[in-house]
Amino acid sequence: MVLKILVIEDDKFLRELISQKLAKEGYEVVEAVDGENGIESVKKEKPGLVLLDLILPGIDGFEVLAKMKSDPELAKIPVIILSNLGQKDDIEKGLEMGANDYLIKAHFTPGEIVEKIQALSE
């Protein structure tokens, strides 16, 4: 079965780049442009993995993560945070809240992000 990945990212160009890459790698991709939209999509689409940006208009990524983890049906969906926030505090907070991995956008290429996804979904 093809893994369905939800990409929650507000920057249009970044969202396109990562989605294209994922689609090319054979994943099914759904997109969300902000936190609220993200939560709705998680519930509706039941993705196999979520790529989550943190700084989002309205509900931010941390809140999306908290909402997912408090819902027993969504809590088990793996989440990879993909953010520009690179401070230790943010990374620790994200991992403590239950994210499976934390990637800093500027330090990873889409190719490396795909490798992380593969490692996690095996």
């Binding site: 920057d11 160009f13 970044l14 780049l17 990562i18 294209q20 890459k21 090319k24 520009n84 690179g86 230790k88 505090d89 956008k105 500027a106 330090h107 290429t109 889409p110 190719g111």
Partner: protein, 363 residues
């Protein structure tokens, strides 16, 4: 007059009391028994206490006044000498405290405590570093987008490219990575300047930290055929913010590796006298020209001889290193000669009390 000339008051003879009424700094004067004998109008304003209420009181008695109690905690009952220490006495007032003992025949006869208002400076510092932080953060999304799109071109995800095109795109990719590095350094600098820099301190081995840095640089060391020696004796563990110390020591080691020519030698020495640990990083590289040595630790410094060698480096590395070392209570300095190379020295304190505490209480 507050200074009675009949008493043994040395200040009274030479000191015109009225001058202190017009100072823009707060001034507190204590006698040899640490009792207050002067509290000028500006001090009254800062601490919201009138002079008449505090004259003749000892420093410890002053802690009864809410606004004065942080000052008392800072100075202590013996009024220790202090140079320009910052103190936040209420939300919107930040002051800088200097306390100077006045001695005659090696005996303390008075203590001056000078209170300088630095609220405006602190506010503008904060605005500046907030701006840098904001600007740097805003640069992160576009630099990520550039990195990601160039990678997809290099990987030929949008069709084949010629070697010539690949070369150009690869150069653009590397240049963009330098911008990413610069943005990261700027964020570190902004954090340093806000004074909220060190995170969790843990008991760690500096030796292990150096080994792991060297391990991660093996590629470069082999490529440049450098001889790297690591001489060490048994040294105590230190209280470190490992991530930051890794950056501080990494910067020093990287400079040694980078600015030493092919086949050159880098010697790392680690020793301790139980109170302090000293790390030396000695290279026989290009050195720092004498005329530029005074600004080595300033922001954006790059040696003129080095700029001709290669263009990499943001000029922020040593500034960041110095701040990290000093935040750990340590010192950093160097000796350099363009003919012989450079040696950097880092000294870090061994937190004995903590060590003793661990040994005695737990083992």
């Amino acid at each position: 007059m507050f200074f009675d000339k009949k008493k043994d008051s040395t200040l009274g003879e030479t000191f015109d009391i009225k001058i202190t009424n017009y100072l823009t700094d707060g001034l507190l004067v204590f006698d040899k028994n640490n009792k207050i004998i002067l509290f000028n109008p500006r001090a009254e304003m800062f601490f919201e206490v009138v002079e008449a209420n505090v004259l003749g009181k000892s420093i410890l008695e002053l802690s009864r006044y809410e606004k004065l109690s942080p000052l008392v905690s800072l100075l202590g009952g013996g009024i220790k000498p202090i140079e320009k220490q910052e103190l936040d006495i209420k939300g919107n007032l930040i002051i800088e405290i200097t306390s100077v003992p006045i001695t005659r025949n090696r005996e303390k006869i008075n203590t001056l405590v000078i209170v300088h208002d630095v609220t405006k400076e602190k506010l503008s510092d904060k605005m500046k570093s907030d701006f840098v932080t904001l600007a740097a953060h805003q640069l992160r999304t576009p630099t990520s987008a550039i990195k990601w799109s160039l990678e997809s071109l290099i990987k030929e995800e949008h069709g084949e490219i010629t070697d010539d095109q690949r070369d150009i795109i690869q150069k653009a990719y590397n240049t963009n990575d330098k911008v990413i590095e610069l943005v990261r350094d700027l964020l570190d600098v902004a954090q340093i300047e806000e004074g909220k820099y060190l995170n969790k301190l843990t008991f760690a081995s500096l030796e292990d930290l150096i080994k792991s840095i060297l391990n991660s640089r093996t590629g470069e060391i082999t490529k440049k055929k450098l001889h790297v020696e690591f001489e060490r004796t048994d040294i105590p563990k230190l209280m470190l913010d490992i991530e930051k110390m890794d950056m501080a020591v990494g910067n020093i080691l990287d400079n040694a590796l980078r600015y030493t020519k092919e086949g050159g030698k880098v010697v790392i020495r680690l020793e301790s006298n139980n109170k302090e640990v000293e790390l030396q990083v000695q290279d026989n590289g290009v050195g720092i020209p004498q005329s530029e040595q005074w600004r080595v630790f300033s922001k954006f410094f790059r040696g003129s001889n080095v700029m001709k060698m290669e263009t990499e480096g943001t000029g922020l590395g040593l500034y960041i290193s110095k701040n990290i070392i000093e935040a750990h209570g340590g010192r950093i300095w160097f000796e350099s000669d363009v003919k012989r190379g450079t040696t950097f020295f880092i000294v870090l304190p061994v937190k004995e009390r903590f060590g003793e505490f661990l040994n005695k209480e737990f083992y």
